[in-house]
Symmetry: C2
Subunit: 408 residues, 2 copies
């Protein structure tokens, strides 16, 4: 039976005109061999977005106005979609490229991000009915005035899933320069395993903890609309990783994947008096200057007073220190602000954790035995994250991968 | 009194981020010093359109599909308009960039060209009412489906005039890398004069005869809607050339300008029998393969039979010969096809010609005295065009400029 599928190709996959020809070849072969109707979504050619950002920097010498920045960056996908559509036509199929306003990919601004509200799939369905392959610009949206907006780094994944959702939850293939999701970065852990299946939940935790393979928003959208999602290589035909609601045996392996971010920093406020609202004031001061915090840990410190530690992007550290300076200096009770710029965050993710309490303790034990100090720890249902010095992060990933993945 | 004016900047004027800053500076100074409301129209950064064309060539190895080619090339103005808008904001004014679909610049395809049908000025008027400087992408249109179309090389001039027309025939300034329209190319005739005023008619004849300063369609649109039009330098504040319906003394100078195209070719069919419809068949055969002809001259040749000569773009010559080959070979009556690839066309334009018959004769006389052979000649009310060997074209321009412009 003929189906509709969405295939998303990232910037590396459309990075040169030769690669665009290879993408066209893959799309056309898929159509001819399976009879599927294919909707293509593309990112900008790799390097193009950076070129546009540097033009913007040259003009603005600072923060660019959002509306024009969106209009500028959206041009990158306009180029790659038109070239991909031409290449598909060259291989003998009909094809049209479509920008965000042509598929009415409507977004709404919320906390500094543009989130997809709605997609009008009628134009795409019309094209498919005429056997025309739509090539949709990833990364772009439009606001209620029809002006361009952006879905953030990796936003083309979200474009692809949103279109798949609008096409009655069509299967969505994210074709990229790796051949699936791994239990850890293979260059860090040579014995890392390609994961055949992952739950949305696992993928979401991994994506938001540093696995760069998918924008986390796309996973969350896929989960909501039950879009069948695959991550596979655009360069080979090997099976990739399938993201599903559940899979047999998912509770047996405690750990599915280990991710690591090495670009974090830590701020610690010590000697906080036992008084309500202090943590709230700290987080508000950071939110006001647009800084996202990652881990938040409050604990009882020395002499009965509290300690509050947060991790954040290293690039935001000095702005965060400035924002909190007032809060600390205006107090006479000796609150101290300390910072550490060299922090990594390591996350261990797995559905199996739901039924295996004590993983956090096990992690402490293993790392402790290897003389690796954990600075902070947070846990969720299926994830344990630890902050540690970035100098020992790689070693910690290798040790934990060996213990939880390789030796099972 | 506060007015609205349209200022169009070409590719060289927005060719670098430094030049874009200079454009922004000029626009902001104009607004602050005069109180005028300004609508900006920009071309793509110089070199950008060629870069996009070479990407298209790499994918298509031949003629690209029109719809995708338009989408691809329209991205060039998307970049320059966003950067220009950012630069204007940097100088302290509010500004929004707008693409063709955001101003509903609707075009209609006619004989291989996309012509402007309509512009919706409501969004522009709304922005002006809020003191926001609109920066409109030149060169682009949309068709009735909302897909991008292109207005041809130099099409941004036409965008600017169309917007000026829609804004109740607002004055339109074409800001470019020259400081006005000259009586001849200054590098060819060092004594060439900058023309303070020209009639629409004169400008139209010059633009369609090789003066690259304005797209001829823009002049014709300006004439229809009585849009006051100026050509001036984007780099200096000198007075440019004003294009008007009429100006005092316009009939006194016989010749306003001399233009020259050196990229033409000539086809001659000799020994045509005296039979109706032959010229029509020749022109139809060329039209079928999409070749535009320029000059067409039919004359009585040797032995009472006719001769038909046409000039055309040199790049089209071999396709034209192919298209006519059948027409010649299928006849037994000895029609011969000859071609000359090295033809230039020189045009002498001036309102004064209306009242001075015999200019063509004078041109023959002057060139003859200088041993320059004229191959073809056509005349209109205010123009005489001659085709001649491209080797003598420059000399011919200099001699005629000396006689008709410098020595008066």
């Amino acid at each position: 039976m003929s189906r509709t599928v969405v295939m998303k190709f990232g910037g590396t996959s459309v990075g040169t005109t030769e690669r665009i020809a290879a993408v066209a070849d893959r799309v056309c072969k898929h159509v001819q061999e399976t009879g599927d109707s294919v909707v293509v979504v593309v990112s900008a050619m790799s390097g193009e977005t950076d070129r546009l950002i540097s033009l913007s920097n040259a003009v603005n010498q600072g923060k660019p106005p959002v509306r024009e920045y969106s209009q500028l960056l959206a041009s990158g996908e306009m180029v790659s979609s038109a070239l991909t559509s031409m290449a598909i036509q060259k291989k003998g199929l009909k094809s049209h490229s479509l920008m965000a306003h042509q598929v009415r990919m409507i977004t709404k601004r919320s906390f500094g991000q543009d989130l997809i509200l709605d997609v009008d799939s009628s134009r795409i369905k019309e094209l498919l009915a005429e056997n025309i392959v739509p090539v949709v610009c990833g990364f772009q949206g439009i606001d209620d005035k029809g002006d361009f907006t952006l879905l953030g780094r990796g936003g083309s994944d979200t474009t692809a899933v949103a279109i798949a959702a609008a096409l009655d939850s069509a299967p969505c293939y994210i074709l990229t320069d790796i051949d699936g999701v791994y239990s850890a970065l293979p260059k860090l852990c040579p014995k890392a395993k390609k994961l055949n299946k992952l739950t949305y939940e696992e993928m979401l935790e991994m994506a938001s903890s540093g696995a760069k393979v998918l924008q986390s928003r796309s996973v969350s959208l896929a989960r909501t609309f039950k879009v069948p999602l695959w991550v596979c290589s655009s360069f080979s035909n090997e099976e990739g990783t399938e993201i599903v609601e559940e899979y047999p045996g998912m509770e047996e392996a405690i750990v599915s994947g280990i991710t690591c971010r090495t670009d974090e920093a830590k701020l610690t406020l010590r000697n906080i008096p036992d008084e309500p609202g202090y943590a709230g004031a700290v987080l508000s001061a950071l939110a006001e200057v647009g800084i996202n915090v990652d881990m938040i840990v409050q604990s009882q410190g020395e002499s009965g007073r509290a300690e509050l530690s947060i991790t954040l992007d290293r690039a935001d550290l000095s702005r965060a220190e400035e924002a909190l300076q007032g809060l600390v200096e205006n107090r006479l009770d000796g609150v101290r602000l300390e910072s550490d710029a060299k922090i990594a965050k390591l996350s261990i993710v797995g559905e199996g954790m739901r039924n295996h309490p004590g993983i956090a303790a096990k992690i402490f034990e293993i790392l402790g035995a290897n003389k690796i100090n954990i600075e902070l720890i947070t846990t969720s249902e299926i994830k344990v994250s630890v902050a540690l010095s970035d100098e020992v992060a790689e070693k910690a990933v290798q040790i934990l991968h060996q213990h939880f993945v390789e030796n099972r």
